[in-house]
């Protein structure tokens, strides 16, 4: 069973309590009306999809109900760290170097 820690509840909980919310730190354009279709499609659909560490949104839907962000390795499924929404994205390259050592 994959355990995910929730930064709001401050406990580890089974994966079944959580829902995946896609890639984190994607800002909605300030003026959507100024965008053409191509730019809008870039915002809506295009994601980084890396083989490695990715900052993602997760929601503790069957717990506190809150969204938070997590850095997960997309190959090993290992959660490197979790942090609350609104907090700064950690340096993924530095985390990857730490993980490699």
């Amino acid at each position: 069973m994959l355990l995910i820690s929730c930064p709001w509840c401050r406990v580890e909980r089974p994966e079944i309590e959580f829902r995946y919310g896609g890639e984190a730190h994607i800002d909605r354009p300030a003026q959507p009306a100024d965008l053409d279709d191509h730019q809008w499609a870039e915002f809506l659909y295009m994601r980084s999809n890396p083989k490695g560490l990715l900052a993602e949104r997760w929601r503790h839907v069957h717990g506190c109900g809150r969204f938070f962000n997590a850095v997960r390795h997309t190959v090993s499924d290992r959660f490197v760290c979790v942090y609350k929404t609104g907090e700064k994205c950690p340096d993924l390259e530095a985390l990857a170097r730490e993980g490699a050592q």
Binding site: C9, R13, H62, G65
Partner: protein
């Protein structure tokens, strides 16, 4: 029985769901239940009016006599209140009064307050094997070190969402939605 004045076994027929020497599951008498959402300021005002302050620490419960405020999320609480007389009916007058008093106390500060008295039913799971019975469907570590007395959390009971509150070393309260109750009771009876 739970170590809180809040929950009393229901007096209705069929209230005893499981009755074994080492574990019992009993339906609890109806309570007034309120769902409250708001920030810390709103929670402070609501707690003063409710009679039990709303805990700010994660997974905490604050039972005070026949009132209890349960932390569900950083801006969400479940408020429970008993009227003192065990009946088969939800204590509507109490629910109405509490709603009015909390709404007045919080005033225009942004918040949400909903009477959910009829949404939930509670099951009292008690006995030396209470944790083992719950662990047939609840995927949490219910050892007292990991889930101490007083801790409350929303979690999953197989497919049904529940609020699980440890009110004593061998006593848990399962708050589940009324429509999920036959499912939860059935799995506990067969667990």
């Amino acid at each position: 029985m739970p170590d809180t004045a809040l929950y009393a076994p229901a007096t209705t027929q069929g209230a005893s769901v499981v009755s074994r020497p080492d574990v019992t599951v009993t339906r609890a008498a109806p309570l007034a239940r309120l769902a409250f959402r708001g920030d810390a300021t709103a929670a402070g005002k609501a707690g003063a009016a409710f009679g039990a302050s709303l805990p700010m620490a994660p997974l905490a419960a604050n039972p005070v006599g026949q009132r209890a405020a349960l932390w569900l999320g950083p801006d969400e609480w479940l408020l429970l209140a008993a009227s003192g007389t065990v009946g088969e009916e939800v204590p509507w007058a109490l629910a109405r009064t509490l709603c009015d008093e909390i709404a007045t106390a919080v005033g225009t500060h942004p918040h949400a307050l909903v009477d959910v008295s009829e949404r939930n039913v509670a099951l009292i799971v008690s006995g030396p094997r209470a944790a083992a019975l719950l662990n047939t469907q609840v995927f949490l570590d219910l050892d007292e070190g990991a889930f101490p007395v007083g801790q409350v959390t929303r979690t999953l009971f197989t497919k049904a969402e529940i609020v699980l509150w440890r009110t004593g070393p061998d006593t848990f309260v399962v708050e589940c939605w009324r429509s999920f109750a036959p499912y939860v009771e059935g799995l506990l009876a067969n667990g």
